[in-house]
Symmetry: C2
Subunit: 333 residues, 2 copies
């Protein structure tokens, strides 16, 4: 059994992150990571006639470009693992319509990037695939319309709210080649401490992040030490809460803890309130910034812990709270 501790899976074979691709919207392109992205689009429609279609195009582009950049064709790819925030994961399925790739649809809200990398790594380690593409996306406008209020309404957003990242990130996993390696995976369970504020996703996700990080560190004890522990999109509110909750458990990661939702924007000056969020957030930040650091060995190891708020407008209206989930992937350069 390639399992250690309670719920962490260990790769017995090489699982290489051979390449990544990131495409982002204009706001993300004005942020501090602007030089790391592969492509920055200039408006939120990108010549499409709806935000949803723009998001599909983002994801389609990410997959197509990663093929081109690696000089491989669709026939070289065994599986496409994809997901996004929209109902029926339409950004993923409609983007994949033309690809003909065997398609595994995932839903983990904003945790989907590490969910897909984790699953993909296990399928490669298990000897089922040579190449797998993992891709996720999100779009500020399509997400606001679906989850909160129509943008046209011009509603005020509280300071705990986060800005859904417009962008798509793709990762090419392979059983051969050169690049950072996925070494371990911890899938989280669903955690719900009763948050009922749809504008405070950071608080809804912090308990899940805490539990998964704690479990992973316990399981992996002595086998890995991470230079960085990176959460997906907890932003300012969720980051602080996670640090606090972990400290209550006797774990202090504050000196090596970063959050993609805080990395992607200049939080003070870009009017994003608590920070970034969305399936695309950890996807594009990992696929650009962290991947570059790993590849250049400026970063030796990291635990990518993307977090998802399983927010549903329907269930929310029925009086339910918002559960969270977090999946962690241990990566070494």
């Amino acid at each position: 059994m390639k399992k250690i501790g309670k719920q962490t899976f260990i790769m017995a074979n090489d699982v290489i992150i051979k390449d990544t691709y990131s495409v982002v919207g204009p706001k993300e392109g004005e942020g501090p990571l602007r030089d790391y992205f592969d492509l920055i689009i200039t408006d939120s429609l990108w010549e499409e006639d709806s935000w949803e279609k723009c998001e599909q195009k983002l994801q389609k582009t990410a997959v197509e470009e990663i093929l081109v950049n690696n000089n491989i064709t669709k026939d070289d790819v065994d599986l496409l693992l994809a997901g996004d925030l929209l109902n029926q994961i339409v950004s993923s399925s409609y983007a994949a319509r033309s690809s003909n790739l065997p398609f595994i649809g995932l839903y983990g809200a904003c945790s989907t990037m590490s969910l897909s990398i984790g699953l993909g790594s296990m399928l490669i380690d298990g000897g089922f695939a040579s190449n797998i593409i993992c891709v996720t996306s999100s779009h500020f406008c399509s997400a606001e319309r679906q989850y909160r209020a129509p943008l046209e309404m011009g509603g005020q957003r509280p300071l705990s709210s986060q800005w859904t990242v417009t962008g798509s990130g793709a990762v090419l996993l392979s059983n051969s080649g050169i690049g950072p390696k996925v070494k371990s995976v911890t899938f989280g369970s669903i955690e719900d401490l009763g948050i009922t504020d749809a504008d405070n996703m950071g608080a809804a996700m912090a308990p899940a992040a805490t539990r998964t990080i704690k479990q992973h560190l316990e399981d992996i004890k002595g086998k890995a030490k991470y230079d960085l522990i990176v959460t997906g999109d907890l932003a300012t509110v969720g980051r602080d809460l996670t640090n606090k909750l972990l400290k209550e458990e006797g774990i202090d990661i504050s000196n090596k803890y970063e959050d993609c939702g805080m990395k992607i924007y200049d939080i003070k000056n870009q009017d994003v309130h608590s920070g970034g969020s969305g399936c695309g957030c950890s996807a594009v930040v990992f696929s650009s910034y962290y991947y570059k650091l790993l590849k250049e060995k400026r970063l030796k190891s990291m635990l990518l812990t993307a977090t998802g708020a399983l927010h549903s407008p329907t269930i929310f209206q029925q009086g339910e709270s918002i559960p969270g989930i977090a999946h962690a992937v241990g990566i070494e350069s």
Copy 2:
């Protein structure tokens, strides 16, 4: 590589379907498979105050009962693979809130049962898990509200429409024990021949079923011969189309082809029009009827090909057609 042909994965180790559990609604309990289900609820709310909460309870019950019936605890289960039709797969995530099981959320619309069995089998074969529970569900009332029109409207349904199954089916996969074995998995790609009628899911899914069945049979050639090829929920319209499309490809499976959506209801007398559908359809029919046949060796082998229509009301309103997907799992008694 445990892959043969273009896109079929072969299990090198034992992957045993150790047990199943099925719980269904009253209409399904009046159908021809009534004696095969583990539990039939007596009304569509089951003491809950919304259909969505009833669906969560169905899924929660299926998971809890499969644990009890197999005399195992949550600690014996390495992963829970779950999905359903509702936005943000809330039936799955809310049902799993209390379980604390590591959770992998899937979205494949009505194809989710074979998607989860396929993925779960590969994770067991790959040496990552001893026990995995796969579970999906659907509910007629929650699905109609989300996908088509409020039930209270009393809209007429055309004869091509299908009746979403109320029910949940769970499957316990294991690396040891006695039971039918999963031998092969083919994940399908997304197929779209341009169907734009949200009341004709059978037609939307038939091209995907055709493609996956054809590919699987080509890939597996000479390695397996199935007593039965079973689709998930194509119902009368989709079944006929699939037979026709396969014949055009030179493949005639009509003498050993069955569809869960036609098995679950007495189509002539239960006013379900084309037949059953939904994530729960293939889940409960496989978990009750076919599993019993396999276990008692009255059925030696089957190819379970659950099909999903990736229908999205939002994208549909933007003028798009409805793509389909189908995933196939080869099972031997």
